[in-house]
């Protein structure tokens, strides 16, 4: 059963996912850019899978190609669930 797609839940899942991918928890914020966090395109594929497993929301390549910050990823997931 997918988790409820509230901004809070998505933020937690994305933050946990980024930590799993090697980001220090202290570096995380909505404003942090993926580039600064050293999150590359392959990491984004994994993050998309984490989001799909948790919320049932599918992020395609085109969806994430212009995303630059952690906050934008969170907002994208929330908006795609609507």
């Amino acid at each position: 059963m997918p988790t409820d797609v509230s901004t809070e839940n998505v933020e937690k899942t994305i933050y946990d996912g980024l930590v799993e991918l090697g980001t220090e928890r202290g570096e995380l914020s909505r404003e942090a850019t993926l580039e600064d966090l050293d999150i590359d395109s392959l990491d984004l594929v994994e993050l998309a899978q984490i989001v799909e497993d948790e919320f049932g929301v599918e992020l395609k390549g085109d969806d994430v190609k212009d995303v630059k910050t952690v906050g934008e990823v969170i907002d994208l997931v929330v908006s795609k669930s609507g």
Binding site: L42, V45, E46, Q49
Partner: protein
């Protein structure tokens, strides 16, 4: 590191190289998804052999040329995610290139190349998450060497080799390997019309290969021991293309 929980899917494993590969991977302890398009009896026989040898197998119908069937074949199930994918299902519809119809061209590309892409696309996210994955694509010596009358087949298999190399470098840092095997003349239903005679004499080994000999290469590339082998094509052809 212990091998993660998951299963192996061999497309087109009701007979030939696919069946031999399914048996070999099951012997390595992988729960098997035995896929077939039309030969249910063959697939059930393969599954029964796997179970008789102490392994576990699920028979799954699906035409790999159908994108939605590929999605279903790769869905994580009770046997876990697919962590070993052998893209084996293939066909040939031969003819000299001026006589190949659009449908003959497209069907061969759909089954041999596009299905390999779609199954790989579907499998990779789970493999990346597991930090382990083995994809083995069945190409052909015809992917690198001319064989008159097989322009569509050659194009599809050359495509598989190029695809294999590129995907391999994309995912190598996550413990996922992507390789191809390129069989020469192997005794299967696909080759029974073209086997024998002059062709056999052209093979340095002077004989046709067996499905088990091709499957042994797949088994190696799918093994944990092959963890540093990626982006390569292992030719199994009795020296034909040497």
């Amino acid at each position: 590191m212990a091998r993660p929980e998951g299963c192996a899917l061999v497309t087109g494993s009701s007979r030939g190289i696919g069946a031999a590969a399914a048996l070999a991977l099951a012997a390595d302890g992988w729960p098997l998804r035995v896929n077939y398009r039309s030969d249910e009896e063959g697939a059930r026989e393969v599954a029964a052999k796997i179970e008789a040898a102490g392994g576990s197998a699920t028979v799954v119908q699906g035409d790999v040329a159908d994108p939605s069937a590929v999605t279903s074949l790769l869905e994580p199930g009770d046997d876990g995610p697919v962590l070993v994918l052998v893209n084996n299902a293939g066909l040939r519809l031969d003819g000299l290139s001026p006589q190949i119809e659009d449908e003959q061209w497209q069907r061969v590309i759909d089954v041999n190349l596009s299905a390999t892409f779609r199954a790989t696309r579907e499998a990779l996210p789970q493999m990346l998450r597991a930090r382990f994955g083995r994809i083995v694509n069945v190409a052909s010596v015809v992917g690198t060497r001319a064989n008159a009358g097989q322009a569509n087949y050659a194009a599809s298999k050359a495509g598989v080799i190029g695809f294999t190399k590129t995907v391999a470098v994309e995912v190598a840092r996550r413990g996922v390997t992507v390789n191809a095997v390129a069989p020469g003349l192997i005794a299967t239903a696909l080759t029974e019309e073209i086997a024998g005679g002059e062709l056999e004499k052209a093979i340095p080994a002077r004989r046709i290969g067996t499905p088990e000999e091709a499957a042994a290469c797949i088994r190696f590339l799918a093994s944990e021991e092959a963890s540093y082998v990626t982006g390569t094509t292992l030719t199994v052809d009795g020296g034909l293309s040497a």
